[in-house]
């Protein structure tokens, strides 16, 4: 709990109903998905609760956020920021934190149809923004985490690959003008919104200051470097007709499939063919979705229960599957895209399972367009997390996947993670180019101590493999320990990251549990 006089000062900023330091409230905010194995990895009890925040506060404006941050500096209280709140990154790492729940900052500030961008506050969800953009024939990039997450959080503070990445890129690339409350309490407006005359949101890298690398870099600072209150993000032409009508009842809605959309599950047979067709499809820039997944994952994206997953046995025999979805606005465009993919399959002697061995339910297409496929990862055990997080060429991504299989199989054999034959992976191109993303989703049971321990150990070994085999930096290199392990091998980037942290957050108030702490704080921890 906060001291009464400090609580009063926070109340003066947001009103008494918008801050709560009660035991019930703060304990509820200490819970999150995957915290149990994060705790285990840090040598703590593997329970799904992080340190309990001292209070939870709900700001409604940038100015309120600024005052809160200033107060945190004054009283040396750390703050952790969360929007829709999925994942351990939303949790405080110390018991000297308050949580800023950004739920009241939920406005779509602007949709600039002509210049193809939207300005959103923290708590607008991806589905909300897409529904509004759709009215103008536009689309938004959504991360694999799904349409219920915050585009602001993804674009400013997280990685951000998504199923539609071949067309919509990834969050780091789509962020434009940004309003940022620095850990010091100053407000910094990046890109064209930072201009003194005629500020607007259309660019993140000038005219006006560009600090995108510092602001979010590759993986985002996950609330380790201040608070983002408004951000402009790119919009894209919607890939097909914009009628989005799902009739019937949950979960198998009867979706009115747009005229020009088609799914393929290509049986690539081996990694060599997978790489070839993968590169060619992306060279031709024809795919809305082009994702390599395991058989198990392919079965899951067409299923709504674990039992119905078993019906998808048609996918059991295929090897190195590739999900491709093409969508078009005109018949001519659609015919062209189909012709290209058919030719490529013919050239490589590959087959498409869809329409031959399996026809997806119409709702599958709704989920493709709304970027809801990732959520199917929860149906088997209710718990999963990704290791790896490769961002490189298709060749290196595939090499990483191959190298990881023996490690994963070892933990499958120990029965602590789910058996996907070691092949569970998700890989997509970014912007239909040479640049790919790969991660290794792994299913575990968060209620089983053995499974949690096994998952944590597997994740550490998997990370070490990337070091030993020079495969690149995994997704979740977060916190001092991991940054300091990896930094010396990568031009001591950790030292630079730490300097940034020190310069921007002199009082170490922006919780660094999933970023990097300043030198003094880090030294203290080491001692």
């Amino acid at each position: 709990m906060l001291k009464k006089e400090i609580l009063k000062e926070f109340q003066d900023i947001v009103g008494s109903e918008n801050i709560d330091d009660g035991d019930v409230m703060t304990n509820a905010y200490a819970y999150n998905w995957c915290i149990e194995f994060v705790n285990y990895m840090e040598g703590k009890d593997p329970i799904p609760f992080s340190p309990v925040p001292k209070a939870v506060i709900l700001p409604s404006t940038t100015e309120e956020v600024q005052k809160i941050v200033q107060l945190c500096n004054k009283y040396e209280i750390q703050f952790k920021v969360q929007s829709t709140g999925l994942g351990p990154w939303n949790q405080p790492s110390t018991d000297n934190s308050i949580i800023l729940d950004m739920r009241r900052m939920n406005k779509i500030v602007k949709i600039d149809v002509k210049n193809l961008y939207a300005v959103v506050e923290s708590y607008v969800s991806g589905a909300q923004l897409q529904a509004e953009a759709l009215k103008y024939g536009l689309n938004v990039h959504m991360p694999g985490a799904g349409p219920m997450t915050s585009p602001l959080a993804s674009h400013t503070s997280m990685a951000g690959p998504g199923f539609t990445s071949p067309q919509t890129g990834h969050s780091a690339r789509n962020v434009l003008g940004t309003e940022w409350v620095l850990p010091s309490g100053e407000i910094l407006r990046l890109g064209s919104i930072g201009l003194k005359s005629n500020p607007d949101w259309f660019s993140g890298d000038g005219p006006g200051p560009s600090l995108r690398g510092i602001m979010r870099g590759w993986m985002g600072t996950k609330s380790g470097l201040g608070v983002f209150t408004r951000v402009a993000i790119k919009l894209f032409p919607y890939p097909c007709n914009t009628k989005f009508i799902a009739r019937g009842h949950a979960p198998m809605y009867d979706f009115e499939i747009p005229d020009f959309i088609r799914a393929y599950v290509v049986d690539c047979g081996n990694f060599k063919n997978l790489e070839k067709i993968y590169l060619r499809i992306n060279e031709e820039e024809i795919a809305l979705i082009c994702s390599h997944m395991s058989n198990f994952a392919i079965m899951a994206i067409f299923s709504y229960t674990i039992e119905s997953l078993m019906d998808k046995i048609a996918f059991g025999g295929i090897k190195k599957p590739l999900l491709v979805v093409i969508a078009a606005r005109t018949k001519r465009e659609f015919d062209y895209k189909q012709k290209v993919i058919d030719l490529l399959m013919e050239e490589l002697n590959l087959t498409n399972i869809i329409g031959i061995k399996y026809d997806p339910p119409s709702n599958f297409y709704a989920e493709c367009l709304r970027a809801n496929l990732g959520y199917h990862g929860f149906i088997a055990t209710g718990g999963f997390q990704s290791t790896k997080g490769q961002c490189d060429t298709a060749a290196l991504c595939i090499r990483t996947e191959k190298k990881n299989i023996p490690i994963k199989k070892n933990y499958i054999k120990r029965e602590v993670i789910v058996n996907d034959f070691g092949e569970g992976a998700w890989m997509t191109s970014y912007e239909s180019g040479h640049y790919f993303h790969m991660e290794v989703p792994t299913l575990y049971d968060q209620t089983s101590l053995e499974s949690v321990k096994g998952m944590a150990e597997y994740m550490e070994l998997s990370n070490q493999l990337d070091l030993l085999k020079h495969l690149g930096i995994p997704f979740f290199i977060e916190g001092d320990k991991l940054h300091d392990e990896w930094g010396p091998l990568l031009m001591n980037y950790n030292k630079w990251l730490r300097k940034i942290k020190e310069a921007f957050d002199p009082n170490a108030v922006s919780d660094s549990g999933f970023y990097i702490s300043g030198k003094n704080q880090s030294d203290l921890k080491n001692e």
């Binding site: 019930v24 009241r104 897409q130 219920m148 949950a250 789910v418």
Partner: protein, 439 residues
């Protein structure tokens, strides 16, 4: 009595599995049509903090079981600021296998057991029900005051109209319209009059199970003693309670129907003739208790087997109770058959309809929350450009009319039975005032 459909070990297993994804705060993702009407949950809309959401209450359940939080007023307030509308459960179960609504109800039961629930206002009406068989503090003998001499009842009929407390004492126009329609259609039916007691729904939803079961047994004993074959309800709450909650605890051998189901059949069979043009633009509010929550739990007598380490499956598959089998078509069929009437749908309908805000003791314990929620729903109805908001539940009727009044909306509210009467060219009899003295 813990029912077999949700054993304690299932509860203990589930409360550890929330992935804190916030899906429970929204309607199913593929049904989101606008930013404004994307939300599913009145409690999180009004109070904002995560524990007010379905997922947040699952976390509270876990924290409580782990001893991290105590049964305090702070906990009680959060747990009871919920209409138990079940919209969070529909969104969650779209993909997951958790049961947020069941968990909330069980958590309330647990709080009652340790003396931390229900809310004082709810305890007051429970005491009133125990004494007077209704929660409105009205004499039991006045339960039949709405019955006029021209109503034809048949004491030997095998069909019973169970009126319910709200229509008997507060929304009499619904009871009157119902019996006039049944009479006009030539349906033989009876009512229990003084032998009808509160169905117990407002008690059950607070977690006070023992008192609820007393009333369940009183009602079932009475109905079964009369050899009734079909019971018809104009109250969605009573209907859901009989159809789902009674059935979980005590099997009975009569059929239950909501009046919309019966009227739809009577129109189709030609017994009810809708002849008058009703040139109104109408939007329909799905009551939670007639829609998603009126789906019965299906008996399952299968086996859970381990398919592979960490993955278990049910053989045969266990049916997901996801609102699919609620009563959605019957009221819409009726409205579509009324000559000249134009039905315009709101964005949130059927199993993902937004709640009116009154249920589960909220109207009594947190009237501000009930009113704010009603006004949110009224706004959605207004955005359809309809003139009339229609529903099929006396409890929704009261709260939505309160919302219309408080917001100064131009919308008019009708129960669906009143619109049927108009279409039959019979003038409905409305009460002159609404009253807030409801649960």
């Amino acid at each position: 009595m813990t029912t077999d459909h949700f054993p304690e070990e299932e509860y203990q297993r589930m409360i550890k599995r929330c992935v804190r994804c916030s899906v429970c705060k929204w309607i199913p993702q593929v049904q989101i049509k606008s930013q404004k009407y994307a939300s599913a949950c009145p409690a999180i809309d009004i109070y904002n903090y995560h524990p007010y959401s379905g997922g947040g209450k699952i976390i509270l359940a876990l924290a409580y079981e782990m001893g991290r939080i105590k049964p305090t007023e702070e906990l009680r307030d959060i747990v009871y600021k919920c209409t138990e509308c079940g919209n969070c459960a529909i969104a969650c179960k779209y993909m997951n296998t958790l049961e947020p609504l069941e968990i909330i109800m069980r958590l309330r039961e647990k709080l009652v057991k340790v003396g931390c629930g229900p809310m004082p206002k709810q305890q007051e009406y429970i005491e009133v029900v125990k004494k007077l068989n209704n929660p409105y503090n009205e004499p039991h003998k006045k339960r039949t005051d709405w019955i006029s001499d021209d109503i034809k009842l048949d004491p030997s009929a095998k069909m019973l109209y169970y009126v319910g407390c709200t229509s008997s004492y507060r929304r009499k126009e619904i009871a009157i319209a119902t019996v006039r329609i049944l009479n006009a259609a030539g349906v033989n039916f009876n009512i229990l009059k003084d032998d009808e007691f509160c169905c117990g729904s407002p008690i059950l939803r607070t977690g006070e199970i023992n008192t609820f079961e007393e009333f369940m047994n009183k009602n079932l004993d009475m109905i079964e003693s009369k050899g009734i074959e079909t019971v018809v309800f104009s109250c969605a709450g009573c209907y859901d309670t009989f159809k789902v909650d009674y059935n979980l605890r005590r099997k009975y051998n009569f059929k239950v129907l909501h009046t919309t189901e019966l009227f739809d059949m009577l129109i189709d069979s030609g017994q009810l003739k809708l002849k008058k043009d009703v040139p109104l633009k109408v939007t329909y509010h799905d009551p939670c208790h007639l829609g998603r929550n009126a789906e019965r739990y299906e008996d399952w007598d299968g086996e859970t087997i381990q398919l592979m380490p960490l993955v278990s499956i049910n053989i045969p598959p266990k049916s997901k109770r996801i609102g699919t089998k609620g009563v959605y078509d019957a009221p819409r069929n009726i409205l579509k058959k009324i000559p000249g009437l134009e039905l315009i749908e709101m964005e949130r309908i059927q199993e993902y309809a937004y709640c009116c805000g009154a249920g589960a003791g909220v109207k009594s314990a947190f009237p501000d929350m009930a009113l704010k929620t009603a006004k949110l729903r009224i706004e959605e109805a207004e955005d359809t450009d309809a003139d009339i908001l229609v529903s099929a539940c006396p409890f929704c009727s009261t709260n939505l009319q309160d919302g219309i009044q408080d917001s100064g909306s131009k919308l008019k509210y009708y129960d669906i039975s009143e619109l049927i009467l108009i279409a039959m060219d019979i003038e409905p009899k409305r009460s002159n005032k609404t009253t807030n003295e409801v649960i």
